[in-house]
């Protein structure tokens, strides 16, 4: 196992583990949205607006992991 291999392992693992959390989070957001829509279909507009806002916030965490892995791939 040389340095190059460890670098690529680190890049891949940063991406995959880092995206695990946002993936779970997005699933939970979708679950909560669908449940809320089922309970209260009239509030569709407000629910969807908030869902998109929170989904984008969650996704941003995944983007951080992506940036870290790209930096690792480039610099390390």
């Amino acid at each position: 196992m040389n340095a190059e291999m460890i670098k690529f392992l680190a890049v891949g693992l940063t991406g995959s583990i880092g995206l695990l959390g946002p993936a779970l989070g997005l699933g939970l957001i979708g679950y909560a949205t669908v449940t809320a829509l089922g309970r209260n279909p009239e509030a569709r507009g407000a629910i969807l607006t908030n869902m998109i806002l929170v989904a984008a916030l969650t996704e941003a965490v995944g983007i951080y992991a992506l940036i870290v892995s790209i930096i690792l791939a480039m610099v390390a």
Binding site: L53, E59, A60, I63, Y64, I70, I71
Partner: protein, 456 residues
């Protein structure tokens, strides 16, 4: 649309898809018949976080392509607003109607979060952030914008005939006298610049990482009035950098003369058609070359425009502005005393000490412990406010860069058709990121103002 029209469009899309599949990177991997009209550029990640300097490259304030793009955005947004409001009517036309509708939606959104009074106060800043981010994202989808990951097209220039290199024709050109042409690092680590006495083209006599002694010629002037003048090294040391590059400035510029020795005589190798940029030679004078040997590499110049949000400096500047706005709103909305007590919360600590001095040891101790915790919480509050800046900056930068990479890799894998759905996705992401940047600033600002009104 008629059924036949739909079928025709579907057929065209299918043909384009198959052609793209065969010509792109996937087809190349599967050894499908290569279609030469499709040129897949070599992807190379270069200056990931910043734009590439286009003008004033060596000065203290280089003009990057992202900076130019943000100026274009400002210009387009201003012209758009001007065109929409130039001749306002009671019954709005199409453009005026669109802008009025968008503005009304924006005002409603802001007032629904911050309330009527604060909403009106926040509107200019929030709307500016929203419009600027959205225009940036949408304009960056235009084909004139270069990809954010510098697509360096590296053309390798080869000779057609074997022979000996007689002359290299592209020289570095100094634009003015006293321009720095090389950097020498001396033995004790000091860096010394080598200055050229006059403007004009010259040729280097040394290579990077070569060691030179004092007075050794570093370069020699070429075709100017001072032809033959040698530029001497001012100190002994190692050449760290040769600052002036060889540039190809016109299509099919001659780059080298090669003596084939046979009946062909001396041939001239030209640069490829319509490709400009930086040239780097792989051969030296008097070096023998064989047929199809690579003699130089041409690296293309950076694009003139590149999505402004893919420059971390731009997003960081906007994040600074947003955080400053939030703190300022907190300061004016709650008054200096309340505002500062959020960060430096020493009231409880002082009370505990006072109790301690009065002789109530147990009560004083309890209040002091709470006071110390309050001080630590104040510090954490300050850190969390400053972290917002980083997350603001990286959220926008990351999303925009990731989008560009997505479109780029789709184009790379299957040209033409595959990028289209991602362009649709990019439209959505541009809007949502604008909403997030503006919306979060709005929410934080209304929280910062809101605290005070609860406490009064």
């Amino acid at each position: 649309m008629s059924r036949r029209g739909c079928g025709l469009i579907g057929l065209v899309v299918l043909i384009l898809f198959i052609v793209g599949l065969a010509g792109g990177a996937i087809g190349r991997g599967m050894n499908l018949p290569n279609i030469s009209i499709l040129k897949v550029p070599t992807l190379e990640i270069e200056s990931f976080f910043r734009g590439e300097a286009v003008f004033l490259t060596d000065g203290p304030f280089p003009i990057t392509n992202t900076l130019i793009a943000s100026w274009v955005t400002i210009l387009v947004a201003t012209l758009f607003a001007f065109a929409a409001t130039r001749k306002m009517k009671i019954i709005p036309g199409r453009l005026q109607g669109l802008v009025e509708m968008a503005m009304e939606a924006l005002i409603n959104f802001i007032e629904s979060v911050a309330g009527h009074k604060n909403g009106r106060r926040f509107l200019p800043v929030i709307a500016t952030i929203f419009i600027f981010v959205m225009f940036n994202a949408y304009l960056a989808l235009l084909p004139i914008y270069g990809p954010s990951i510098h697509v360096t097209v590296k053309s390798e220039i080869a000779t057609e005939k074997a022979g000996t290199v007689v002359e290299l024709l592209v020289h570095p050109i100094a634009e003015e006298a006293d321009e720095s042409i090389a950097v020498i690092e001396t033995a004790d680590g000091a860096r010394e610049e080598v200055k050229i006495p006059a403007a004009g083209d010259f040729e280097y006599r040394v290579a990077v990482r070569e060691s030179v002694s004092e007075g050794q010629p570093v370069a020699v002037m070429m075709g100017t009035t001072q032809a033959g003048t040698e530029v001497l090294a001012p100190v002994a040391g190692t050449i760290m950098e040769l600052t002036v590059e060889r540039r190809i400035e016109e299509s099919e510029q001659p780059i080298a003369r090669i003596d084939t020795g046979g009946e062909d005589g001396v041939i001239v190798v030209n640069s490829p058609k319509d490709k400009l940029g930086e040239l780097e030679y792989d051969v030296a004078v008097n070096q023998p070359v064989s047929t199809d040997d690579e003699i130089a590499v041409l690296t293309s110049t950076p694009p003139l425009l590149r999505s402004a949000s893919t420059d971390i400096n731009m997003t960081l500047a906007m994040a600074l502005l947003a955080v400053l706005f939030i703190e300022l709103m907190g300061l004016t909305g709650r008054g200096f005393k309340h505002y500062i007590s959020e960060y430096i919360n020493v009231g409880e600590l002082f009370r505990g000490m006072k109790l301690f001095l009065k002789g109530k040891v147990v009560d004083g101790l309890m209040a002091s412990v709470t006071g110390v915790i309050n001080v630590i919480i104040g510090g954490l509050e300050f850190i969390s406010h400053m972290t917002r800046m980083v997350s603001f900056a990286f959220r926008l930068f990351g999303n925009m860069t990731a989008g560009e990479i997505l479109v780029l890799s789709a184009t790379f894998l299957i040209p033409w058709i595959m990028a289209m759905p991602f362009y649709g996705l990019e439209l959505l992401i541009g809007f949502i990121q604008a909403l997030i940047f503006g919306g979060l600033t709005l929410v934080f600002a209304s929280i910062a103002v809101g605290h005070g009104s609860e406490e009064h």
